[in-house]
Subunit: 242 residues, 6 copies
Amino acid sequence: MESNRLLVISAHAGDFVWRAAGAIALAASRGERVKVLCLSFGERGESAKAWREGRQLDEIKELRRAEATKAAAVLGAEIAFLDAGDYPLSRTDELTDRIVRVYREVRPSVVLTHPLADPYNQDHPTAARMALDARVLAQAVGYDAPGDPIGAPQVYFFEPHQPEQCDFKPNVLLDITPVFETKRAAMECLPAQQHMWDYYTDLAKRRGVQLQRNAGPNLGLVHDTKGEAYVRFYPQVTEVLA
Amino acid sequence: MESNRLLVISAHAGDFVWRAAGAIALAASRGERVKVLCLSFGERGESAKAWREGRQLDEIKELRRAEATKAAAVLGAEIAFLDAGDYPLSRTDELTDRIVRVYREVRPSVVLTHPLADPYNQDHPTAARMALDARVLAQAVGYDAPGDPIGAPQVYFFEPHQPEQCDFKPNVLLDITPVFETKRAAMECLPAQQHMWDYYTDLAKRRGVQLQRNAGPNLGLVHDTKGEAYVRFYPQVTEVLA
Amino acid sequence: MESNRLLVISAHAGDFVWRAAGAIALAASRGERVKVLCLSFGERGESAKAWREGRQLDEIKELRRAEATKAAAVLGAEIAFLDAGDYPLSRTDELTDRIVRVYREVRPSVVLTHPLADPYNQDHPTAARMALDARVLAQAVGYDAPGDPIGAPQVYFFEPHQPEQCDFKPNVLLDITPVFETKRAAMECLPAQQHMWDYYTDLAKRRGVQLQRNAGPNLGLVHDTKGEAYVRFYPQVTEVLA
Amino acid sequence: MESNRLLVISAHAGDFVWRAAGAIALAASRGERVKVLCLSFGERGESAKAWREGRQLDEIKELRRAEATKAAAVLGAEIAFLDAGDYPLSRTDELTDRIVRVYREVRPSVVLTHPLADPYNQDHPTAARMALDARVLAQAVGYDAPGDPIGAPQVYFFEPHQPEQCDFKPNVLLDITPVFETKRAAMECLPAQQHMWDYYTDLAKRRGVQLQRNAGPNLGLVHDTKGEAYVRFYPQVTEVLA
Amino acid sequence: MESNRLLVISAHAGDFVWRAAGAIALAASRGERVKVLCLSFGERGESAKAWREGRQLDEIKELRRAEATKAAAVLGAEIAFLDAGDYPLSRTDELTDRIVRVYREVRPSVVLTHPLADPYNQDHPTAARMALDARVLAQAVGYDAPGDPIGAPQVYFFEPHQPEQCDFKPNVLLDITPVFETKRAAMECLPAQQHMWDYYTDLAKRRGVQLQRNAGPNLGLVHDTKGEAYVRFYPQVTEVLA
Amino acid sequence: MESNRLLVISAHAGDFVWRAAGAIALAASRGERVKVLCLSFGERGESAKAWREGRQLDEIKELRRAEATKAAAVLGAEIAFLDAGDYPLSRTDELTDRIVRVYREVRPSVVLTHPLADPYNQDHPTAARMALDARVLAQAVGYDAPGDPIGAPQVYFFEPHQPEQCDFKPNVLLDITPVFETKRAAMECLPAQQHMWDYYTDLAKRRGVQLQRNAGPNLGLVHDTKGEAYVRFYPQVTEVLA
């Protein structure tokens, strides 16, 4: 059996840090390949501070690229940028095709992306829709892209900023306690959003409390558990109910 | 860490065989304790053939008890009957309390029961409702029943007869290939519903096909996979996304 | 093939008139047996005017009984009253059993009742729940009530007063144009709620407009169509898609 | 126009503090009457610490009564206890009737209660169901209880502990900044659950952030806003869209 | 605090009259700025009568423009037309950008548009999708359009023609009694759809009845109330639960 | 009244055989016109075997065309291919327009197409979306395409491969017993997917069992019933509840 490979597809450059850094660090700590694919830099929609400081578009892109690259390195992940533009990120066959090619190269066993609804940011569902479409295309032997067709990877949606408004009902709680300090360090690579550091530290604690409340009687959970919440999109395939 | 313990709560005597025999046999084959709790014998609602043959109520109960006991033995499970009556099975605090006591004794890490909607048989959601209520009560130190409060076991709903009409959208597909012959043998302990043997064999094949279609690229699935479908009710707690 | 038999189960004495008189009159006009079963008279919850006039409980019940009996006669239907009390109408095994006995006697091919949600009147879902439970019980040969087990009748929910708030999304629009004058005459048997006569006449027009908008190209609809809206609860069984 | 009157119906003695103390304190600070109705003391299900300390049932009830009474006083609210038992709290016509009588006495313009689903605590939906049923009964002139029928009060569900798992999608965010210190003081009246003090302070901050994000451009929000989230159950009636 | 500004975004030229004229007239009567933005004239899909009379495309557009302009004037609103074509109205980045520019100019505190589902007219959800997307884009300082980024306006969906089929469950009922005559006068500016005048007058009465039924006990509602129904899309932010 | 005309719109060349051959054969056997419209050949996404055999794109298209044409002939249906490409099939105004023209020519009373969700194949919802859009456009007198505007045909979604994952809750069960041998013969025209022959034979039996379970007491169903499941998208218009 091959080892796992994780592909993280996010609309903007910072999303993977706040929402999935724990899963990324865990996979990397197990020695698995992890690749983060940023469809845009979030240069227009998620760089308010830089615009207010009077910076130019290219400058902002480079800033975001540098920060995200640094955060990925902290987490032990590769990173790539498709520079497809944001606000709006537009769904096109051409961009979907570029994502297919990444699937064919990485051959992920697990994919992380945004949920399919977000009334506060349409770029997120747009990215998720293309991530899902590309996943199916990459499985087809008849699809004209380099590489062999891939097997069907599991897909998990990571947590949006206002989960209830995005119909985000977590069905997986991931214990990220062993790597939380790494996640914190990755967050600190994004200085423009410093108020988020504590916000997502608090969220990790809260999801940790829920994790303990939902853990079965056999799970030996340590104090001060940290968690990340996910929605698994396809049925889980398993050999044991536990 | 303690070994797992499986508690299966079903409205009628036969339900656990058609819907969950694979999970039961798998757990038993791993050496785990499994207990099946039948709230009724299904003596009125699921014994049409016996009634048409002119049998009496007590006779039918004994028949159903004997068959279910035999099937449980084949699967490697304990079985108990609360004889609470069916058609209708009624939700009462007294019956719920009897179920709490079973929780406190078995101390399950996993619970299997019916889904919460079934337009064809109200006994099923009624049983599920009590199974869920009793699970929460058994966790309370202040609840007045013998034994210590239990940890929070995972809950899975097993598959109803008409899944789409019961809003049953499986999120777990269990590979029961290694124990399918045992499931078939348990089904054959229920001779009054012989047409169901093939029906549920076909269902196992079909769920097996879906299992393969949803399996990630790393899962080494054998030919002629058999499956059972479940809905996990509470979030999964995990240390790895896979 | 036997002719159809229609059973209408309503929480209170007047419901069947406002919500289903068209379906009742149509069935009666085809020579089918129709029986209306009122679980209560609506003596507490739907008789505000009589209470304000200072009438006593028994008097109000008789008033409601007389009016409903007259309306049923206009429509060509039998009527029976179980006098189970309203506000609240309580779900009990005993009352459900009385409804089972009516099923076994009438042997309906079609059942009309309330929808399963109504935030403005809990008696309505309570009646519907018992109507559905009794339907399943009456089908069981092992259920201890006079008469043979029945076949599975279709179930339609009739329209509540605030449809959107009751999650009432009609999937059947019934053309009641040929019997609308009969429906109006039945409504006029209920003088205490005179403002409802026009209200439900307007509703019939509106549902008629929707009926025309949803009718296929082949349906020859007349001008000034009147309609009633229903939700079919179980799948339709048919030999033709049309 | 009369002034508002607020009725808060909770399953257990502490719920109103964690979930609705802000709304209560705001109403009291406007000089409105506020009454908290606790159906039980939470003596079995929400007093784990006291049980572990070996206290007796009556002692625990008195402890919970004293703490809740003190918290209500801090908030400026009346409080009453129905002592109906918890774990399980059972839905009965008799208990619903007692709640009706409170509605008829308080004549609330606004009601706060639990949401209708909570997989972690069935007492909460049970209390909510009776709160809603009693509200409708209390409006009926024919319902046999002292006092005149009431007008239709608005109903808001307050926030459960795991909102996403309870299908709790807030549609109202209440600014409780002016009274947050009072809420904190009320929480501190419940020493057995000290870890909750910070938990619900953090929640108030988080809902405050969302409040600012959802506020229109005209709302002058102060720094460090605190919020409580609610679900309005019936449509809002208004003279202005704003 | 600035006064409110209302932006109404509709797919076709007539929609704002039937569905939102009450809200528009109320806002105008309070002296607020109101701007109606028609993405198309409804020249193909909603001008059946004109086509049957043999008119040409440009002629029909002018007719619709004139009528809508007159209706807007009656209501006290500005109006603009983007002439983007209908049947189908297509979602494009270019059209979305034109809508962003209107947001940046009007700086609305409240936006009215179509709901996100309509099986009878895909132009409606398409318009709504762009109205929502543009709202988010207009808030971003990095979005390249004239004017400053706007604050987050509230969004309300107005009522579609077949509400239940569009999953339209109103959560706001607006009292339009004071301006109903103005709404009627605006409707009468659209002579091609004369049958709609009475249809929407009846709807206003019906929503008025529901408004009274949902109003709290303190609201002093006059006889013959007229209403419009809305769905608020984002959570309400408030300082009082009432 | 005109006779019925059936239009079947499928994303790929083979879909209509597995999912709707029974409905097609029934309509043809009644002498009705049936036209199958394949938007693509399924040349990339559903021809894995041919690609693995090393065939070229054009060759695969011709193979699929030939097989589908043969199957349509067996069923008694016309067939046309739009060759719009698959994997991905893209939603465009131009392709929608070509479908409108087919509507205007066939003038269907009934339309069959895919459901609106399919996480395993985005081409299916894309085809359905265009089928629905074109249906509305074809009804407009102002839409610029040859032929008169059509009446509103009923729409049914046929069954996807993993129904529960596609939120496919059947509300119509069609008895295809009389034509099942014809369906089998049509399936056997598609030799590349031989394992599907038995799969869809089993499905037909299973839907047949459900059909019998949901049939009313009057329906005289024969042994070994075969069925197909459908979801009706618009309300049924009827003159009788049965």
